[in-house]
């Protein structure tokens, strides 16, 4: 500890603390324009000058000055004030002459400080001018003429976002911030995350959405959680005149001040003219406007007649990973208690069903074991089957930053993804060979004696049997199967096993296979063998795709479990539910998404209720899905847009988007966070919660308390993991489940000391090839996935013009060799065909993919990847094999559809 004097008051701080940090800690504000919280002091703007008694020059910048014992510092002396004023005056002198008339002044930090130092005009003479304005990015403008060269954008981009877009060009007063090599932003490696814009203290980097120019008119800032992806970034929605005009990153526990391009800029969908504003019912073949009463009455009537005809199991519902916990809870309650069927599932089936099944079997809980924040603690990271920087951009950024800090990164993926560039070992494995690779890693670890014997002995079971099986899976054998170098497998094994804190991160590259559950369990085996579980910075971490897919699973929107993952087959669980609901749910597990589709096709489902999902683009083998949906007697779709699926519905219910509702989302690290309403739903659209409560009431099962907080309280009574939570407790950073009692602080790390199931279980697994193997007719492997700029089926992102500019058209990524054989060049039309159908789209030729593999993002309805994909299922989790099928690539006939 160091004791020094600040403004006459003694202050004790830890060694290495700067004067600025110490002052901020003590509530003394020192103005600054270039400091970034959490990064080393930069000392560029020189505004944070404070008086230091006995120093050589009298004053020193607080941001770079380390506190020393006995130091006497004044922030409020005249000398310090005058010096700050002199420096601010210099900055103003360099600024454009119209600075004080600038309409953006409300958001300008420079203005704020100038005003506080009594500066009201720009000293004449040396105005920065003549720098070209870079307008090439769809979301923000770079105007070097208004730049004060504080370098916050440069450092934010390089040190926090790790994108390294900016540099300083030229020197002295001609220096400016610019993308490297004089490129435009559009040609740089910028990912449009907007971190630089948020950091900029002036108008040099300003968003185009109007939130900056209108910042002085922003009525309210509403703290909520982003609705794109499962990272659960907290953000502030800026509301002006009843509309959301922009968003700013907040310091949430998972994002720590970061956002990606979607969360930062893609909010046009909220008040979009295409939004559904009135209920629609099908009359004489066409969808026409109706009253709520009419629409809901029709839903209830059809439901009753279906149940009369086919029994309760003739009804099925698809819940939504986009909706809140409260809404999903009511949805499954509607089916289980209101109708009496377990036929409730949602798109988790298509992403992490294998995780839920696999990890529940080996560890007892199918969720991320550790927290996102722990990435900062890790010294080794294994990323496999996840293009993290594009699908979970903020986590991707944090992994990148960890790698640059010195954490050793291993990446196993068929594509040379962004993270591969940061990796120490990159394993470009063939799609569908995960289990072989993970077994080989385990084998290498056992061979070299790197396993954690103590951990295995104390905390696990089934080791001997597993070890005996895995010992034959040598890296050399795997090298053949996976198409990677055996030496790299051994290197990766040594890095992972030898690390103090090592985490595994994976996503659908592991789960969406017929061997998905096996893949998950073999990763789990790997972590168990090395003892990398239940400790800070370790763990096995499935990255959940949608904003509330974790929560939708938690609250029971799955056919086999009640809220809190209690088996429907368990009489005690059913009794507990009945105590809250007043009706007991059926004991037989219901149908899964894929089974519901098949059942509908064969006429066994008469009533299908889809809340906030678009299976007609997202599900495998779309042709098949279309037939199924058409075969259903009565289809209800509740959504915010008239999606491809909604267009087939008999009743369409207009719902509210995340910015229009109160509730909770559970992010990928099991963190339950509050979602807050910023604006009302458009027209007569209603919150999903409200609609569901209404329906329950019409079915004679009114919720005791229809408010969001009330429904959450009911949920907390049924899901043990949520038992200790309430909306009040979720203010701020939220809580991570399990949180069994009101005084429990939440659980950042699962399985500490004891696994949820008791002992960790090793499961021996052999690699088996994917359902469809390449042959002469279909010689390539097709794998699907996402990109940074689009989300799911583009119902939201497709309405953001900027995103369409950046990634508006469907494309297929393939290796130059594959392109040569198909006879196409970069940008030309490619035709991809599988046994189920074919699509035409633009070829994107890249050496970052295996020559035997083609990648297609599934976002684009105009060339839907899921026309091609197969419905082969994982036998345990029933997840379809979206990541592998056999495909033929050839030259397309026409232009790529646009």
């Amino acid at each position: 500890m160091i004791t020094f004097t600040l403004n006459g008051r003694p202050l004790s701080v830890t060694e290495g603390t700067t004067v600025l940090e110490a002052a901020r800690g003590a509530g003394v504000e020192i103005p600054t324009l270039c400091h970034i919280e959490g990064l080393e002091g930069y000392g560029g703007c020189r505004v944070c000058m404070v008086e230091v008694e006995g120093s050589r020059t009298g004053c020193a910048p607080a941001c770079t000055l380390e506190t020393a014992p006995g130091m006497v510092v004044r922030t409020d002396s005249e000398a310090a004030f005058e010096l700050r004023k002199a420096v601010l005056e210099m900055i103003l002198a360099e600024h454009p002459a119209d600075c004080f008339n600038c309409k953006h002044s409300g958001a300008c930090r420079l203005h704020e400080l100038a005003a506080r130092h009594g500066l009201t005009k720009v000293p004449s003479g040396i105005e920065r001018s003549g720098f070209p304005v870079d307008d090439s990015n769809p979301f923000f403008t770079l105007d070097p003429n208004r730049c004060i060269l504080c370098g916050k954008c440069v450092r934010t981009c390089a040190e926090i976002q790790c994108s390294d877009v900016y540099t300083f060009a030229d020197r002295g007063c001609r220096s400016s911030v610019a993308p490297g090599f004089g490129d435009l932003l559009a040609d740089s490696r910028c990912v449009s995350c907007g971190s630089c814009v948020a950091a900029c203290p002036t108008g040099a980097l300003r968003p185009k959405d109007g939130s900056w120019s209108g910042a002085m008119y922003v009525d309210r800032r509403v703290r909520t959680v982003c609705s794109y992806c499962g990272v659960g970034c907290q953000l502030d929605l800026l509301v002006s005149g009843g509309r959301v005009v922009g968003a700013l990153p907040a310091d949430g526990p998972s994002n720590r001040g970061r956002l990606c391009v979607k969360g930062r800029f893609a909010h046009a969908f909220i008040g979009h003219p295409d939004r559904l504003t009135v209920p629609l019912v099908r009359r004489d073949g066409a969808l026409v406007e109706a009253t709520w009463d009419e629409a809901l009455e029709r839903v209830v009537r059809s439901l009753r007649s279906t149940v009369d005809r086919l029994g309760p199991d003739g009804a099925a519902g698809l819940a939504s990973a986009r909706c809140t916990n409260e809404e999903n809870y009511l949805f499954q309650k509607l089916f289980r208690a209101g109708i009496g069927t377990n036929n409730v599932d949602h798109c988790a089936r298509l992403c992490h069903a294998s995780t839920v099944t696999g990890l529940a079997a080996t560890l007892g809980s199918g969720a991320m074991t550790n927290s996102i924040d722990e990435i900062d603690l890790q010294d080794a990271i294994l990323v496999t089957g996840s293009n993290t920087t594009e699908t979970h951009p903020v986590i991707g950024t944090r992994i990148k930053r960890a790698a640059r800090r010195g954490a050793r990164l291993i990446v196993a993926d068929p594509r040379r993804i962004d993270l591969a560039e940061e990796a120490e070992v990159y394993l470009p494995l063939k799609p569908g060979t995960n289990v072989a690779l993970y077994n080989a890693l385990a084998c290498a670890i056992l061979e070299e004696g790197l396993a954690d014997r103590e951990f295995i002995a104390e905390r696990t079971e089934g080791y001997e049997e597993w070890a005996a099986a895995v010992r034959s899976c040598t890296p050399e054998k795997a090298a053949e199967v996976c198409g990677v170098d055996a030496r790299d497998i051994r290197r990766a094994a040594r890095i992972y096993a030898g690390a103090r804190a090592a985490g595994i991160y994976y996503a659908m590259g592991v789960t969406q296979h017929t061997s998905g559950t096996a893949g998950v369990m073999s990763l789990s085996n790997l972590a168990l063998a090395c003892g990398k579980l239940g400790k800070p910075g370790c763990g096995i971490n499935p990255l959940r795709g949608q904003n509330n897919v974790q929560g939708a699973c938690d609250v029971g929107a799955l056919p086999d479990v009640l809220p809190g993952y209690r088996k429907v087959s368990d009489p005690a669980a059913r009794a507990a539910a009945a105590a809250v609901w007043g009706r007991e749910p059926p004991s037989e597990p219901g149908l899964t998404v894929t089974e519901i589709v098949s059942a509908a096709e064969s006429g066994r489902i008469g009533f299908l209720y889809i809340m906030g999902e678009n299976p007609l683009v997202s599900d495998p083998d779309i042709g098949h899905v279309r037939e199924a949906l058409s075969a259903v007697d009565f289809l209800v779709v509740q959504d915010i847009f008239l999606t491809e699926t909604a267009a087939l519905a008999d009743v369409v219910l207009p719902a509210a988007c995340f910015a229009e509702k109160d509730g909770t989302f559970t992010n990928t690290e099991r963190r339950v966070q509050r979602v807050r309403r910023a604006v009302p739903p458009p027209g007569r659209a209603r919150e999903d919660l409200d609609i569901l409560a209404d329906l329950l009431e019409r079915l004679g099962l009114p919720p005791a308390d229809r408010s969001g907080a009330g429904v959450f309280a009911e949920l907390a009574r049924t899901a043990p993991q949520y038992a200790g939570m309430s909306w009040d407790r979720l203010e701020g950073g939220g809580l991570q489940w399990p949180c069994p009692s009101p005084d429990h602080p939440g659980t950042p790390i699962l399985h500490a000391g004891r696994f949820t199931r008791g002992l960790g279980r090793f499961v021996p697994l052999a690699w088996s090839p994917p359902a469809e193997e390449t042959d002469e007719e279909y010689p390539l492997v097709l794998t699907t996935g996402r990109n940074l700029y689009q989300y799911h089926t583009r119902t939201m992102t497709g309405r953001e013009e900027g995103l369409s500019i950046l990634a508006g058209e469907a494309y297929a990524e393939l290796h130059p060799q594959a392109a040569d054989r198909a006879g196409v060049r970069h940008g030309e039309t490619l035709r991809l065909s599988t046994r189920r159908g074919s699509i035409e789209l633009a070829a994107r030729v890249s050496e970052g993919i295996r020559p035997d593999t083609v990648f297609v993002p599934f976002h684009y309805a105009q060339a839907a990847a899921n026309i091609l994909t197969g419905t082969a299922l994982d036998p345990l989790a029933k997840i379809p094999e979206l990541k592998v099928c056999s495909v033929r690539a050839e030259r397309g006939n026409g232009r790529a559809p646009s």
Binding site: G41, G43, G44, C45, R46, V47, M49, T57, G58, C59, P61, T64, L83, A86, V87, M90, I91, A93, E94, P123, G125, I126, I148, L149, G151, T167, F168, D170, R171, G172, C173, R174, S175
Partner: protein
């Protein structure tokens, strides 16, 4: 065989046009004929520091400059000068004034007294591309002694005892710096020779690198030996092509002979040296900006502390020494600290290379003890003010040094000399100005230089310099007000306190001293008067009058 005499021929483009090659041919033929080819070595230099004098020749050890030579003069020089020892005065370079000065210098023994003591003794006396010539003058003896019979502690102790202070400008004790690196934890350490000589009017490092490159390598190896560094870098100003070539050559030869490389002279000590060219930024002469640049980054200064001695190149402990500083090291180790301390003063022992430039009869550089007064340097070595004008001002220490009036002439030029008068010794350059200089205009030039060289990363330096240049320009064009004199000082003093590195603090000293000693001249400019006649206040009016006059004449 070591030559007895070196002649340096100017082979600049200009000289070659004037017939340097033809002269060389005749000279070589004459030497062959007289059997003197082995004893007199002809070296080539692309820049002898003179211009407009046709074919020029510099003869060592006599230090005689010949100029405007014709091929026919070669025979006379060889016979009369080389063989009979009587320089051919009619062919001397320069005015009768210069010739008288050269004669005086020889008589007074300045050449002998100043030169050849500590630092410059080899320059001009040996072929800089020959290892054997360097060795013949005790070259590499100090390194040999150190690695064979000495200890790192011993080397460090001698350097500390010698009291050697850094010759780059700051005068920091070299021994302390080395000790800090030696004591810093870490197994990888570096030695950097700062040869990014960018100070206007300063060229001492170039003379050393071009004239005695092996000595710098020896000194770096000794620094490495004393501190535990095994790698060294010479960061050379990119424009110093000849220095770079000669260093590369010297590294190659020294490595081949075992003075550098793995296991120096069979010992367990290994040392490698690499040359890195600078790209023309003044700021890269600042040690931390230099390190950034060496690491391949944009050359901007780092925060200090930590100092390079603990976190330097790639975060490792690093010695950064100026060329002249290093050049002192081998003789100190050969002759001992006491020998070194017999020169100069107690606190500034040794000699210093001084650069006498500007309006003197004979500009140039000279190595003198640090007890030498400014008067001796200007009137003795420099031969006084050219054209029988009067001394008006002298800027001591480079562009960031103070600008003084003649009242400081009797100050001795050691490191702490001008402290109380607000000056620094800096690089040791003395910019001499006569009455034809306008102080305002001169200050404008200096500030323009700083503006041009500011890296731009901190506000006071980037914007302060711009404001200063503008404000001073107001004096030059007659638009300034009296209060602007104080404004100049205000801005400069804010810069001095608030700037990130020394560059932003630099304008203060020249500006404050100029205002202190020449305030009157600034005031005169406000009233539209420039006593030197340099500043033109009403350019348009003048033009108008000239036009009228011409019109009247044509009628």
């Amino acid at each position: 065989m070591i030559p007895l005499m070196h002649v340096i021929l100017d082979v600049s483009e200009e000289a070659v046009k004037a017939g340097a090659r033809e002269f060389q041919e005749v000279l070589e033929a004459k030497l062959r004929k007289e059997f003197l080819s082995e004893d007199v070595r002809i070296l080539e230099s692309a820049n002898l520091g003179v211009s407009g004098r046709g074919v020029c020749l510099l003869v060592y050890p006599d230090e005689v400059y010949y100029g405007n030579l014709k091929p026919g003069d070669a025979a006379r020089i060889v016979e009369q000068h080389f063989i009979n020892g009587k320089p051919v005065e009619e062919l001397f370079l320069g005015s009768p004034e210069t010739r008288r000065l050269m004669e005086w210098r020889r008589k007074e023994g300045i050449i002998k007294k100043g030169r050849g003591r500590v630092v410059l003794d080899n320059v001009g006396a040996v072929d800089p591309e020959s290892l054997s010539e360097y060795r013949s003058r005790d070259g590499f003896k100090a390194l040999e002694e150190a690695v064979r019979n000495g200890t790192p502690e011993g080397v460090l102790e001698t350097v500390k005892e010698s009291g050697l202070r850094g010759r780059g400008g700051a005068g920091f004790p070299t021994g302390m710096k080395w000790e800090a690196v030696k004591d810093a934890p870490g197994d990888r350490k570096y030695v950097i020779c700062n040869a990014d000589e960018g100070e206007p009017g300063t060229f001492k490092d170039r003379i050393l690198l071009e004239g005695d490159p092996f000595r710098i390598l020896e000194a770096m190896a000794l620094a490495g030996y004393a501190t535990g560094a095994r790698e060294g870098f010479v960061y050379v100003r990119g424009e110093y092509r000849t220095s770079i070539d000669r260093l590369e050559n010297a590294i190659r030869l020294s490595r081949d002979a075992g003075y550098l490389g793995p296991n120096v002279l069979g010992s367990s000590f290994s040392f490698e040296v690499k040359v890195k060219e600078g790209a023309g930024a003044y700021i890269c002469g600042e040690e931390t900006a230099l390190i950034e640049s060496l690491e391949g980054k944009r050359g901007t200064p780092r925060l200090k502390p930590p100092y390079p001695t603990t976190e330097g190149l790639w975060g490792r402990p690093t010695v950064v020494n100026n060329v002249e500083t290093l050049a002192n090291v081998p003789p100190i180790l050969r002759n001992g600290a006491a020998w070194f301390r017999q020169f100069g003063t107690e606190r500034s022992p040794g000699t210093k290379i001084y650069l006498i430039i500007g309006h003197v009869v004979s500009p140039g550089l000279v190595e003198m003890e640090t007890t030498t007064s400014l008067r001796e340097l200007i009137y003795g070595f420099g031969g006084g003010i050219r054209g029988r004008r009067r001394l008006k001002a002298v800027q001591v220490g480079g562009s960031s040094g103070g600008i003084f009036d003649p009242s400081v002439l009797d100050e001795a030029m050691h490191f702490d000399a001008l402290k109380e008068k607000g000056g620094i010794l800096g690089s040791g350059s003395m910019l001499v100005m006569d009455e034809t200089t306008c102080i305002v205009d001169m200050v404008h030039g200096i500030l323009n230089f700083f503006l041009h060289e500011s890296c731009g990363s901190c506000v006071p330096c980037r914007i302060g310099n711009e404001r200063l240049v503008r404000a001073v320009n107001g004096f030059r064009t007659g638009s300034a007000r009296m209060s602007d004199i104080d404004l100049l000082e205000e801005i400069a003093s804010a810069m001095k306190v608030a700037s990130y590195c020394a560059l932003g603090q630099s304008p203060y000293l020249p500006l404050a001293t100029a205002i202190r000693y020449f305030r009157e001249e600034f005031a005169e400019h406000v009233n539209g008067k420039c006593r030197a006649g340099v500043c033109r206040f009403n350019v348009l009016k003048e033009r108008q009058e000239a036009q009228r006059w011409m019109l009247a004449m044509s009628r």
